[in-house]
């Protein structure tokens, strides 16, 4: 899971650091570790995933040990520990969604994109995975796409096809 295959130096931009600073200001003095989850979200929005190098830089910024970042990034399911497709389609796979066809939607996505869960399409544009309950059961089946987590509800095979087409045509 955490395997260092290529070492890429990264440096956070000053805009990103400014955003980090604002987040740290929300907590009492000395409790800047509370900023860890919001900061990791910003890192993932910036780079598409959370790399070991990024995690080391976050640890340095927050003045905590690298292990304190690694243990959080590996616990919470939203953080990608490997590069993903540009658009990651996350489909809810828990009970209430399955009652109204979520599993069929996931099979359809697998067929349309031509990749299994967790794999990236050859053009690097898409990956997909099933996730646990997204708290939208009344509008099921649903999927979301990060980093803004735009939400798509009441999915049908047609609406999924349209969504993928639209994303394919985006620059």
């Amino acid at each position: 899971m955490l395997s260092v295959t290529e070492h890429k130096e990264i440096e956070f931009s000053s805009e990103l650091i400014k955003q980090f600073d604002e987040i740290v200001s929300r907590y009492p003095q000395g409790k800047q570790k509370s900023a860890l989850l919001p900061v990791l979200h910003l890192v993932q929005a910036e780079y598409g995933w959370v790399s070991p190098e990024a995690m080391d830089q976050v640890a340095a910024y927050l003045q905590i040990k690298p292990i304190e970042v690694y243990e959080v990034a590996t616990f919470y399911t939203m953080f990608f520990l490997r590069p993903q497709g540009k658009y990651v389609l996350e489909v809810c796979r828990t009970g209430p969604c399955c009652l109204v066809g979520a599993e069929k939607i996931m099979s359809h996505i697998e067929k349309t994109l031509g990749v299994k869960e967790g794999e990236v399409t050859p053009d690097g544009k898409f990956s997909w995975r099933g996730v646990e309950c997204l708290a939208a059961c009344g509008m099921a089946p649903v999927l979301q796409i990060g980093p803004d987590y735009t939400f798509y509800e009441n999915l049908t095979e047609e609406s999924v096809d349209k969504l993928i087409e639209n994303l394919k045509n985006k620059i």
């Binding site: 409790k31 304190e68 243990e71 009970g95 059961c137 509008m139």
Partner: protein
């Protein structure tokens, strides 16, 4: 027409903006509480109202607030639990999306009552759009002098922030939520000490669900006594029910507690009955963690009394023949659904979400998922069914937090009420992969209680 204490104005265009929200009476409770009431008086109103935690546990809110320790020199915190992750539940998403100022108003009044100067709304990370909505609404409120220093000239200061989660159902448990807020893995803490004594940053803390905080607004506006007039017995006020599954009209409904379950499922005012001309087979009434019931036990108690949407009525019969109101995540299963498959699906969820601290939960949820998988896919043994019950009993009560119980109850209740469907999967594996078990006897009227005890 049933009273709507939270959602009265939810369909007004622009109600998600401060201007429209205030035009319709928004932030009156802040004026009233901060300018005319002491914090203690606010706590008393909430106690009088009989409000119970709306996240799922149903603990009396006023009592929880009164437990808050007030040592000199230590900060106190109010944290709102917006980690909504209980399968079947989506009411908080709806509330935060459409009427965010209701939550903010509740947070200000509740923070004042508890003496908190900084409060956090913890929202699950997947709800990034809702986080942005709340941040925008907080900025609007701050610009209007409703947050920050000296709110409305009352002398009360409050800073309010939104904190994202990272994708973990366990962070809905209050101590795991606090751990997450401190920037750590979501491992629940052993209680005692309770958050009211030592919570966020080891300071006295109260954690309340989104809906609970929102309910503070009508309670302060109209008084606790008025709130307690709605509902029955110890189930006072209104509850947001998230209805999903095979219903004609799934969605979020604000109901007065005490509404008959049958009316909730079938009347046009609510779910409108089962979709596609099918018949109801089973219901999970309060989120995946509560016992599943066949239709003959959800519409009536074992005594033949019609079941009502209240904490007491749904729990009538205990684990033998009852369930719980829980989070109000109401999932309806029609006759084509496979109970074994759904139980496997839920057990996969709990295994995935187990934080891993406690061996019974970490290992037991995995075992249940494996055994249910082989039952569903035609490799099950008859002894597997009792094995599942045995494992569920060994998890229950042996864990630091209730996730273990929450994982055990769906499995135990599915086998208790639908054992013949499980046995059919063992005896007819090929058939079970090709067709559904159907409604069988799950809608049959129950034998009269006197006859049962004679046997």
């Amino acid at each position: 027409m049933a009273r709507k204490l939270l959602f009265e104005n939810i369909n007004v265009p622009g109600i998600n903006t401060l201007e429209v929200y205030r035009q319709h009476g928004g932030y009156r409770s802040v004026e009233k509480a901060l300018k005319t009431m002491t914090p203690e008086a606010v706590v008393e109103e909430v106690k009088t109202s009989g409000l119970r935690g709306r996240g799922g546990a149903g603990f009396p809110t006023g009592m929880k607030w009164s437990f808050l320790a007030k040592p000199e020199g230590k900060e106190r915190y109010l944290v709102c639990n917006g980690d909504e992750s209980e399968p079947g539940t989506f009411k908080d998403r709806y509330l935060m999306t459409h009427i965010p100022h209701l939550l903010i108003e509740g947070m200000i009044v509740a923070s004042y009552a508890l003496g908190a100067k900084t409060s956090y709304i913890y929202v699950r990370g997947e709800m990034m759009p809702q986080i942005r909505i709340l941040e925008r609404a907080i900025a609007e409120a701050k610009n209007a002098g409703l947050l920050g220093k000296n709110i409305l000239g009352s002398g009360y200061d409050l800073e309010l922030y939104v904190q994202p989660g990272g994708g973990a159902y366990i962070c809905g448990e209050e101590t795991a939520l606090i751990e997450s807020l401190e920037g750590k893995r979501g491992n629940p803490r052993i209680k005692p000490p309770f958050p009211a004594i030592s919570g966020l940053y080891a300071c006295p803390t109260v954690v309340n669900n989104v809906e609970t905080i929102a309910a503070v607004v009508p309670i302060i506006n109209d008084g606790g006594e008025e709130y307690a007039k709605v509902g029955i017995g110890r189930s006072t006020g209104t509850k947001l029910i998230s209805a999903s599954g095979n219903l004609k009209k799934p969605g979020v409904y604000e109901i007065e507690l005490g509404l008959p379950v049958e009316e909730f499922i079938y009347s046009e005012e609510y779910c409108g009955g089962i979709a596609n001309g099918k018949r109801l087979k089973a219901v999970v009434a309060g989120g995946s963690s509560v016992p599943i019931l066949p239709v003959n036990l959800i519409l009536n108690t074992i005594n033949g009394q019609p079941r009502l949407m209240t904490y007491e009525s749904l729990s009538d019969g205990g684990f033998q023949s009852g369930t719980m109101l829980g989070s109000g995540g109401f999932i309806a299963f029609d006759e084509d659904q496979c109970i074994v498959r759904n139980t496997w699906n839920f057990s996969r969820f709990y295994h995935h979400e187990s934080c891993g601290q406690c061996s019974p939960c970490r290992e037991g949820t995995g075992w249940m998922e494996k055994v249910l998988h082989r039952l569903e896919y035609g490799h099950g043994k008859m002894s597997d069914i009792d094995l599942l019950v045995d494992v569920s009993k060994k998890i229950e009560g042996n864990t630091i937090c209730p996730l273990g119980d929450a994982a055990a109850w769906p499995v135990a209740s599915a086998i208790r009420h639908f054992r013949d469907e499980f046995e059919w999967h063992v005896n007819s594996p090929k058939e079970a992969m090709e067709r559904n078990y159907g409604l069988a006897k799950y809608a049959d009227p129950l034998p009269k209680l006197e006859e049962v005890s004679q046997n």
